[in-house]
């Protein structure tokens, strides 16, 4: 176990000298504004370079379209953005033989540090939290626009081109950015606190993973200015190769986000494996940390496939590489396989953090130990392993490999066993509990209700004959909204209400929280439950005209979705009101949790723990007579060095 007992001293040596100089004025220091400037310069340079290098290239024969300037513009805009942020400053300093700056020289405190490339995992967590809320609401507005169009089967609010752009933006933005909706804010902020570490393993990589998300978000949105893209979030060629410039925004944004999740995953994996405090055995790791570890492995293993697929798509679109062009020896099936080889683990990247959050929350509010801790961990590992063997169930009707269908039907149905463990754990924990119906607990219960419907409808989709009717219809759409919105986003809300007192030292308004929960729960179900029927009755996804006999159901859904939007608005109002205006301090342990993260003050101090804690027992020992406290935050002097002194002959556990 690589524990740095005095990391601040190790870093202090190099940083003493430059810090002695007076700090530059704020506008000369790298921050959000220099990043924007860098991105603009980068785009212009890239656009010029593209025209210079490949003036006569055509994306398709006869198409009179050259994507090279746009693609290079976007890529150099990303590089410029990162240079402007100061991501490469220390690298450059080392290359010319100068000492690196003090890692804290940027951290002036106050609000400004949230707009900088900060190496503090707690700052990155808050940056992610605010970022994710902005991304979620933006993509949610597109959903409202979709439902507005679907109010009528034949009267159009949007043109067909505007409608497909909106569908694509909603789907892509949600699917690519929400991969980090829990791992980003809560994983980065809480994992070190939960495992008793003073820091994360790779603070620079962690910060970089966040600062790529605004890039991906803005590039994807900018696709609208280029005419959008007409192929939803899946981007199947040949449609995505033939589409106009907006498709470049799709491919580059998705690729950049793919890099972001790979980086975020690596940081969490190494942090969890190498930075656990003494005594934090694998049998004491909180289930939330298990879920983050499992999610990170999926991100690290599935992300490269996405980045590769998007890279091939970009080269197909610019330099005619023909990976996916059937008539030139490529295959559009290759893209479908690559995309879903990423895409199916991705939906578990979206589901597992939710399971982790609720499994972490229910023992606190049931006042009981987590039932079947090992089963919970095994369920997450099982889902992670199986998630890489199910992707072809998206291609049951595509015409490839009919003889493989029973196999993919089997793997898809098998994955419901480890997923079911989450319910076993929850039901065992609720047995004879003393349930406290707080706002986080309500959202956790909401997840169990919604995911039940989402999971069971998934079994219907895994069955090839039944899938023949359901595939590509609103049934699928309702299914994955039940698992992702009903699972992940409900868990995200539970986590916000549960951990915001920890992260900001501020409690959200609980009355507004209850109103938010009940409106969201009712209108979420009222929006998506009828869509199962709509799909079964023959309405395909992403259409803007549908059968007239389905108008009543569609109108019901649209009106419910507007109410759902109001409910999210209540959340945003509560968030802004509680954190900016009311600011009710909550410094202790408001939920009487045993979690290690709650044993330090809120918000946690610089460096998390004064001393590296020694973990004495598991986090869920509620009601256990004579259970020791979760950790000794002030271990006697020398206990750590004693533990490590005997390392060769003894396991390194205090």
């Amino acid at each position: 176990m690589a524990i740095e007992t005095h990391p601040e001293q190790a870093q202090g040596a190099g940083g003493g000298l430059p810090a002695a100089r007076p700090p530059r004025p704020w506008w000369q220091r790298p921050a959000f504004h220099t990043a924007v400037a860098g991105a603009v310069v980068g785009y212009l340079v890239g656009h010029w370079l593209g025209n210079f290098l490949a003036a006569n290239y055509q994306q398709l024969p006869l198409s009179d379209q050259n994507d090279m300037p746009i693609v290079l513009g976007y890529l150099l805009a990303v590089v410029g953005w990162l240079i402007g942020l100061g991501v490469f400053s220390d690298l450059a300093r080392q290359m010319i033989g100068r000492p690196v700056a003090d890692p804290h020289h940027n951290e002036t405190g106050g609000l400004a540090r949230y707009f900088r490339y900060s190496l503090d995992h707690k700052v990155v967590g808050i940056q992610y939290l605010v970022g994710m809320i902005i991304y979620f609401c933006t993509a949610g507005l597109f959903a409202i626009a979709i439902r507005t169009e679907l109010l009528s089967p034949s009267y159009h609010v949007f043109s067909s081109s505007a409608y497909v752009e909106i569908v694509g933006e909603h789907g892509t933005m949600m699917m690519m950015l929400m991969t980090s909706v829990i791992l980003g804010p809560f994983g980065n902020f809480l994992v070190p606190l939960m495992i008793g570490s003073k820091r994360v393993a790779f603070p620079r990589i962690e910060a970089l993973s966040f600062w790529l998300t605004p890039c991906a978000f803005l590039i994807l949105l900018s696709g609208l200015m280029l005419g959008g893209y007409p192929f939803g979030w899946t981007g199947y060629p040949p449609l995505s190769i033939q589409a106009t410039y907006g498709a470049d925004a799709y491919a580059i944004a998705f690729g950049v986000m793919g890099i972001s999740i790979i980086l975020a995953g690596f940081n969490i994996i190494v942090t969890v494996i190498c930075y656990r405090a003494p005594g934090m055995r694998w049998s004491r790791v909180p289930t939330f940390v298990w879920s983050m570890l499992a999610t990170s492995f999926m991100m690290v293993l599935a992300g490269p496939v996405l980045v590769g697929g998007m890279y091939m798509l970009i080269t197909d679109r610019t330099v005619q590489t023909a990976f996916f062009a059937d008539q030139l020896g490529g295959s559009s099936y290759l893209y479908q396989n690559l995309f879903w080889f990423f895409g199916h683990p991705e939906v578990y990247i979206l589901a597992l953090p939710g399971f982790g959050v609720v499994s972490e929350i229910i023992p606190v509010f049931c006042r009981k130990p987590l039932f079947g801790y090992k089963v919970a961990a095994a369920g997450m590992i099982g889902v992670t392993l199986l998630s890489f063997f199910v992707w072809q169930h998206h291609l049951f009707d595509s015409g490839i490999n009919p003889d493989m269908r029973p196999l993919f039907m089997l793997t898809t149905e098998l994955i419901s066993i480890p997923t079911g463990f989450i319910y076993l754990v929850a039901m065992g924990t609720f047995w004879k509990a003393k349930i406290r119906l707080t706002v986080p607990m309500l959202f956790a219960l909401g997840l169990y209700f919604n995911f039940l419907i989402g999971g069971i409808s998934g079994v219907f989709l895994s069955d090839v004959p039944a899938d023949t009717t359901e595939h590509g219809s609103f049934f699928v759409m309702a299914h994955f909204h039940y698992t992702i919105m009903g699972g992940l986003i409900f868990a995200f809300m539970a986590a916000v209400y549960y951990w915001l007192p920890k992260m900001m030292g501020i409690k959200l308004n609980q009355t507004l929280g209850k109103i938010h929960f009940w409106t969201m729960f009712i209108f979420f179900n009222s929006t998506f439950l009828p869509l199962f029927a709509v799909g079964m009755d023959g309405q395909p996804r992403r259409v803007f005209e549908y059968a007239r006999n389905l108008e009543t159901l569609n109108d019901w859904v649209s009106i419910s979705s507007f109410c759902l939007g109001v409910s999210i608005l209540i959340f945003v109002i509560n968030f802004v009101y509680s954190t900016v205006i009311a600011r009710v301090r909550e410094e202790g342990n408001p939920w009487q949790s045993r979690g290690l993260e709650w044993q330090v003050s809120s918000p946690p101090p610089e460096g998390n723990f004064e001393h590296v804690p020694v973990v004495l027992s598991g986090p869920y020992e509620y009601g256990v007579k004579g259970a020791p406290p979760v950790a000794d935050l002030n271990p006697p002097a020398g206990v750590l060095s004693a533990a490590f002194a005997g390392a060769p002959s003894q396991p390194a556990e205090a």
Binding site: S63, S159, S160, V164, P230, F231, Y236, P238, L239, Q242, A243, T244, D326, S332, C366, R367, K368, P369, F371, G372, F396, D397, G399, P402, P406, M409, E413, I417, G420, M427, G428, F430, W431, K432, A433, K434, I435, Y448, L452, I453, I456, V459, F460, S462, D463, V464, P465, A466, D467, T468, T469, G472, M536, G538, P540, R541, E545, Y546, G623, K625
Partner: protein, 312 residues
């Protein structure tokens, strides 16, 4: 699922009570739900019984609903009971009982869920093979085929139209899908530009239309009536408007329709490219010229600019 609700051995007195109560609440609900699903709702479940594949899909959905309802009800009844009975009492700050797990319940749960899942797999595989692929596209070399010689119908998808060719009737091409009742049909689905998906809803047939690929699906219409055909794969601007209708008619009506249409369209069929399972995109301009003559327009294999076709 009933076994999972059974009481754990320790502290039996109080717990047996709860387990039995949950079980007694759940059992009548589960039985009632299953009877309603199988007998009342089942015959009306989508996609109906208009063809062999639709009927097998309806049966599958019905059986899975019968299995799913008790599982869902068990979880819901359990959580409902927990929320009603095991709430924190006013002023009670004590923790609950320190239960870390129960090997017997965990083993029972894993066994029961595994048994359900494996039996669903066996059921699904039988239901896939027995009705000859259950209406799903099986690709160019299908492995589950009907015994008798099927009627060949080629489905040609393009932005944003479906057309149909009947190779056994001289290869004429039409926008109307007409099928005889009581005879196996082989759909050969292909595309001229991007990926579409041929979804004949009432027939329970869905097969992706890939350019350069012949995706085969089988069904046997069992009743006469109208069919809705929709595109089920996002294929560009007018994906939502890509649908048309077809009819299942009696064999005699089908014969007279096919023969008269063959004669009627003979002049157009002559200038069409000869019937093939797939069409090389380089000959698409030829096809499109013929199509334009027959009053059908497509996208020439390239993507339309956003302003074209002009908004209605």
């Amino acid at each position: 699922m009933a076994a999972a609700a059974a009481p754990p051995p320790a502290e039996a007195a109080d717990r047996r009570n709860h387990g039995l109560r949950i079980f007694l609440l759940w059992l009548p609900l589960a039985v009632a739900a299953d009877l309603v699903i199988y007998l009342v709702w089942g015959p009306h479940l989508p996609p109906g019984t208009m063809s062999s594949s639709a009927a097998s899909q309806q049966f599958d959905i019905k059986v899975m609903a019968v299995l799913a309802a008790p599982v869902m009800l068990f979880v819901l009844v359990y959580f409902g009971y927990a929320l009603a009975v095991w709430r924190q009492q006013e002023g009670d700050e004590e923790d609950g009982p320190a239960l870390h797990g129960n090997a017997r319940i965990q083993a029972t749960w894993i066994t029961v869920t595994s048994a359900i899942v494996l039996s669903l797999f066996v059921f699904g595989t039988v239901e896939l093979i027995k009705p000859n692929g259950a209406g799903a596209g099986e690709g160019p070399s299908p492995i589950w085929k009907p015994g008798s010689t099927p009627l060949q119908v080629q489905v040609i998808a393009q932005q944003w139209k479906f057309t149909y060719r009947y190779p056994q009737f001289g290869g004429f091409e039409t926008t109307a899908l007409v099928l005889p009742k009581g005879q196996w049909v082989q759909f050969n689905v292909t595309s001229l530009d991007v990926i579409h998906s041929f979804w004949a809803y009432q027939l329970g047939v869905k097969a992706d239309a890939n350019p350069g690929v012949n995706n085969v699906a089988y069904t046997k219409p069992l009743q006469t009536g109208q069919i809705t055909v929709r595109c089920a794969e996002l294929c560009g601007l007018w994906h939502g408007a890509m649908y048309n209708y077809g009819h299942v008619v009696s064999p005699a009506q089908f014969q007279s329709w096919a023969q008269s249409t063959e004669v009627q369209l003979a002049s157009v069929t002559k200038i069409l490219p000869p019937y093939a399972t797939t069409y090389d995109p380089t000959v698409i301009p030829t096809i499109n010229k013929a199509m334009a003559k027959a009053g059908i327009t497509g996208a020439n294999g390239y993507y339309y600019p956003p302003q074209d076709p002009v908004q209605p």
